[in-house]
């Protein structure tokens, strides 16, 4: 009798399972039909790094400090830079990232002192050659580099001029202050002398 009850209970458990799958037929499929509909990427989505174009300067701000290159665990960043004439900081002349090696850890973005790196949003890259994924991050900036340097030099000169004037003004103020202090002393000395003479 117990065996019969077990068989019946077993049979009913099978029917319950069948009901679950039957009900699921009528739920909407969750498939995203990929080539026809593209996925929505989140704002934080991580893909290959790229240089940010700042509004004030119209270009990137990489100073070739090599910190990202040193910290990359996959050794995929290759940077070269030089100090252009008239500017204080170095400027990158080569910035290659081998995206095939990148592990998307974000350490390069964390460590960049000028906050000039960000993630891009590419996700559907495919190629036959392994070296197709060496991205040149300076490519969008090469055309405008000359203009940027001219602007930067102007700004640097203006800043240097301002600084020189400020230094001159400061020096003049300092001299005036010293002269005034000396005159005060003279007066004070004169007074004492007069006092001495009068006394």
């Amino acid at each position: 009798m117990k065996a019969a009850a077990r068989v019946i209970r077993g049979f009913l458990s099978l029917l319950t399972g069948m009901w679950v799958t039957f009900r699921r037929i009528f739920k909407r499929p969750v498939t995203l039909t990929y080539p026809h509909k593209k996925p929505e990427l989140s704002a934080a989505f991580r893909s290959a790094i790229s240089l940010i174009r700042f509004d004030e300067s119209g270009s990137h701000d990489c100073v070739a400090c090599l910190q990202c290159q040193n910290i990359c665990p996959s050794y995929c960043i290759a940077i070269e830079g030089e100090k252009p004439e008239g500017l204080k900081k170095k400027r990158a002349t080569k910035f290659d990232v081998d995206y095939a090696l990148c592990s998307l850890c974000g350490l390069c973005i964390d460590v960049c002192p000028t906050v000039t790196l960000e993630y891009s949003k590419i996700y559907d890259v495919a190629d036959y050659r392994p070296d197709a994924f060496v991205y040149d991050l300076l490519e969008p900036y090469r055309d405008g580099e000359a203009d940027f340097l001219v602007e930067a030099r102007k700004k640097a000169e203006a800043a240097a001029l301002k600084k020189a004037e400020a230094a001159k003004a400061a020096k003049a103020a300092k001299e005036a202050k010293a002269a005034a202090a000396a005159k005060e002393e003279e007066n004070a000395a004169g007074k004492t002398e007069t006092a001495k003479v009068e006394g």
């Binding site: 068989v7 399972g17 799958t21 039957f22 699921r24 037929i25 739920k27 909407r28 499929p29």
Partner: protein, 331 residues
């Protein structure tokens, strides 16, 4: 009212050789279309049960997908293992699907036309189905592969074990219909399909039929996660396609026998023509088989065997005895 003697294809065409040619071609064409359709149906049904879409790209609603897959299979290289037992290895794919052609020719799908009608039709269908067991073992042995052999041995044991309740359930129906001719059994259900008279026999028959065709939850012989692909591991390309073909055609035959024995064949409550009812019932049972496959995990092999020997066979025997008792004593 007794049905008029049906027209057989022999009456229509006369020449025996022509009959053979037309019948073979017709059955092959039908089975091919059937397999193509069933593969597509399986993929769509499984997809819907799993909250996904199934094939959609090739053809409208993915209907042409199976043809594309068949073309791909045909174009693949036929790799033969070096140490395979060549005659057995090469014969197995043919042997697994040729008897099915013979079995299909016996089916009564319409009241007025039939390909062939024998008064031992039921026995002949089971006999042809039994040939596939031989083919499975040949495939497993000839592949010279331990996995294939394991799969083949399990499959053979499973098929032999489940044939017994299958035939015992069919036997119970035969006792009611008093004939083994498939047409006769359908005609005897003009008033009431036998599923209402023999519900236990239907359940036993259907479960045994699932096991005969190696469908889940009895699909240990071809369980992907356990034995790669069981007895057809070493077959590629068109030979693999034959096994695939044979599996779906086997499913079709089991459901056809179930329809004939239990659901009343071509009879229907209202005006649709006989063949339409027949195929509706057959495909309904096939859908039920697919539903089982995508819901249940599979039985372990020894559980499968003990289920057959310790539960199904005693039940089938009990059913037979009960039927005999009721028929003799009560009716």
């Amino acid at each position: 009212m007794p049905t008029p003697t049906p027209t057989t294809i022999h009456d229509l065409l006369g020449n025996t050789w022509l009959v053979l040619l037309v019948a073979t071609a017709g059955i092959m064409a039908f089975l091919t279309v059937n397999t193509l359709f069933l593969v597509w149906l399986e993929r769509k049904v499984s997809a819907r049960m799993q909250n996904r879409l199934g094939p959609t790209e090739v053809g409208p609603a993915g209907l042409v997908q199976t043809i594309a897959d068949m073309l791909k299979l045909i174009s693949k290289q036929l790799i033969t293992p070096r140490l395979a037992d060549k005659p057995i290895y090469h014969l197995a794919p043919w042997l697994i699907f040729l008897p099915i052609l013979a079995a299909v020719s016996l089916f009564p799908f319409s009241e007025s036309y039939v390909l062939h009608d024998l008064n031992v039709g039921l026995i002949l269908v089971f006999a042809f189905a039994g040939l596939t067991i031989l083919a499975i073992f040949m495939a497993g042995w000839g592949s010279n592969n331990k996995y294939a052999l394991l799969g083949a041995m399990r499959s053979v044991a499973q098929n032999i074990a489940y044939e017994i309740p299958l035939m015992l359930a069919a036997l119970a129906v035969t006792m009611h219909a008093q004939t083994m001719s498939l047409r006769g059994i359908v005609e005897a259900q003009a008033d009431l399909p036998y599923i209402f008279v023999q519900p236990l026999a239907f359940v036993i028959y259907f479960i045994s039929g699932l096991a005969e065709t190696n469908r889940a939850p009895f699909d240990i012989p071809e369980a992907e996660s356990e034995l790669i692909a069981g007895f057809h591991t070493e077959y590629s390309g068109m030979r693999f396609a034959m096994f695939f073909f044979a599996e779906y055609s086997n499913m079709f035959i089991v459901c056809m026998v179930a329809t004939t024995l239990f659901l009343g064949g071509w009879h229907g409550p209202f005006g649709l023509p006989g063949p339409v009812w027949f195929f509706l019932k057959v495909y309904g049972l096939i859908l039920l088989m697919m539903w089982f496959r995508w819901t249940f995990p599979r039985l372990r092999f020894d559980q499968l065997m003990s289920f057959a020997w310790k539960i199904l066979i005693p039940l089938a025997l009990f059913n037979l005895l009960l039927t005999a008792f009721i028929m003799k004593v009560v009716a």
